[in-house]
């Protein structure tokens, strides 16, 4: 294997999500490539750190306002260029957050989707877990940076492709906003948390794929 695995793939490798044959190839590559070993080590370390985060801290009360502010400034962000290092950091952040959430969920002994449940609780509404709150902030930041990259590449893509991607992003954003509003009304509902996270993941995955498209496609 001569091609370097990208950040996403190394992140999947850390999570153990690669197909067995591909995982073997990546291991083989890591043995030979110091550059990729360094990246892999950084991701692995961040996943470990994320897994050690406390799970019962209340989020700062101003956090949701901050997330909303960042989202509302997204159009402004579009006009700002990002360096390759910044993009790499964004990707690394996304992978680390994704991996961290997976690690936290897996630590509960069940798979991510399997943990979705409708809680039936009464009394005072508990605060949302700190890990998901951080995750949403990370999702929003990562999505904004990927959207900025896409905005820079927009003119290099075919108009039909741009139209498809933008239409899908509008759908994803609408779903995120709807789930987010529902979670604000019912902060203890883990089923909404999971759906919100999935909506973000699909949007980020769409952005990642759009950013990987070849020019003129």
């Amino acid at each position: 294997m001569t091609d370097h695995p990208d950040f996403d793939e190394l992140g999947d490798h850390v999570d153990g999500l690669l197909a067995p044959a591909r995982a073997a190839e990546v291991w083989e590559h890591l043995r030979e490539c110091a550059q990729c070993r360094t990246v892999y080590g950084a991701i692995d370390e961040m996943v470990d750190d994320a897994a050690k985060l406390p799970r019962d801290l209340a989020p700062p009360p101003e956090l949701w306002g901050e997330v909303r502010g960042r989202l509302s400034r997204r159009r402004h962000i579009f006009s700002i260029g990002f360096s390759p290092a910044g993009l790499a950091a964004a990707t690394l952040l996304l992978v680390a957050l994704s991996s961290g959430i997976t690690a936290l969920v897996m630590r509960d002994g069940s798979r991510a989707v399997a943990t979705v449940e409708t809680t039936v609780q009464t009394g005072a509404q508990p605060a949302r877990p700190a890990n998901l709150t951080s995750a949403e902030r990370g999702y929003a930041e990562s999505a904004a940076r990927l959207e900025a990259t896409l905005a820079e590449r927009r003119d290099s893509l075919a108009p039909a492709t741009v139209a498809t991607v933008e239409r899908s992003l509008r759908i994803a954003d609408s779903a995120i906003a709807e789930a987010h509003a529902a979670l604000e009304r019912d902060p203890a509902n883990r089923a909404i948390e999971a759906i919100l996270a999935s909506n973000y993941q699909r949007k980020i995955d769409l952005l990642r794929r759009a950013n990987e498209l070849s020019p003129r496609t």
Partner: protein, 294 residues
């Protein structure tokens, strides 16, 4: 007396862009049975055929003036890369390629608007298109298929599958061991054989599931607002756990009635049949969930 039609036909062919602006491609190399083959080509269609020969062959036609490159940095036997660059992207739909690979090969294929059709590959497939469709017949060990607005059809039983689209539909007709499909607004349909592990997810796209969960299998379906329809054998061994935040659940499969969700919104339903061998979980924000017998 009827005049011969061939002169008129020849005139049409000669006058068409296809006839006057094509160049042939024929590239062949020996390869290991599990060689890695990469092809990047902006053409109209690519057929990939797994064959019982230890060689790779790329044949077809591309627009005249195209650049066709071949590279095998580790030797053609282990792997090779092929690259087809056309002189003008508006000609992309004109090229037609057929790629023959050892059936156990790993194939990585990236195109723009090409329709990809794969037959007979039992190794690995990593297929990426934007506007074209992806069709895979057979039983690859690993299959990753990604499209933006093209449809993905998997007619077979891959051991491992991950299919993603933005607006394109995803259809799986054979079951498998570890399957995943994700879309924003396309429709996901899965039917056919038993499934051991599966995750289907959409934002607004409909999801139709009609496989049999394998004993101890786990099926996860999640959508924001797409309608979900699950068809199960009435006497199967399966345990269901369904929940929707604000939507509805319709159960025509068992006598268990859905319960109201939190604060009277949404619904939940837990029911089972037989020994409850397989497990099927469905979650939606507001999409209706229907369970039907088949």
């Amino acid at each position: 007396m009827t005049k011969p039609a061939w002169p008129a036909l020849a005139m049409i062919l000669l006058a068409s862009p296809m006839a006057r602006a094509q160049q042939a491609v024929l590239e062949g190399h020996a390869a290991a049975p599990t060689a890695s083959v990469r092809l990047v080509a902006a053409v109209g269609s690519v057929r990939v055929i797994g064959w019982a020969h230890d060689s790779v062959e790329l044949a077809g036609t591309v627009p005249a003036g195209s650049r066709v490159e071949f590279a095998s940095p580790e030797g053609a036997a282990r792997g090779m890369k092929m690259y087809v660059e056309i002189p003008n992207h508006r000609m992309a739909s004109e090229g037609r390629l057929v790629l023959r690979v050892p059936k156990g090969a790993r194939v990585w294929l990236k195109t723009g608007s090409a329709d990809i059709d794969v037959t007979g590959v039992v190794g690995g497939l990593d297929l990426n298109v934007v506007g074209g469709s992806i069709t895979v017949h057979g039983n690859p060990r690993e299959l990753r298929a990604e499209s933006m607005d093209g449809n993905v059809l998997v007619d077979g039983t891959p051991e491992w599958l991950r299919a993603k689209t933005a607006t394109g539909d995803i259809t799986m007709t054979g079951g498998g061991q570890d399957l995943g499909a994700s879309t924003i607004s396309g429709t996901i349909r899965s039917r056919g054989g038993p499934v051991e592990r599966m995750k289907l997810e959409s934002t607004t796209g409909a999801i139709n599931f009609a496989n049999d969960p394998a004993r101890a299998g786990t099926i996860e379906i999640e959508t924001h607002s797409g309608p979900v329809e699950v068809q199960l054998p009435r006497k199967g061994d399966v345990e269901l756990d369904l929940a929707t935040i604000t939507g509805a659940i319709e159960n025509d499969w068992s006598r268990t009635r859905p319960a109201s969700g939190r604060e009277g919104r949404g619904m939940t339903l837990a029911t089972s049949a037989g020994m409850g061998g397989g497990r099927l979980n469905v979650r939606s924000f507001k999409g209706t969930i229907r369970i039907r017998a088949r």
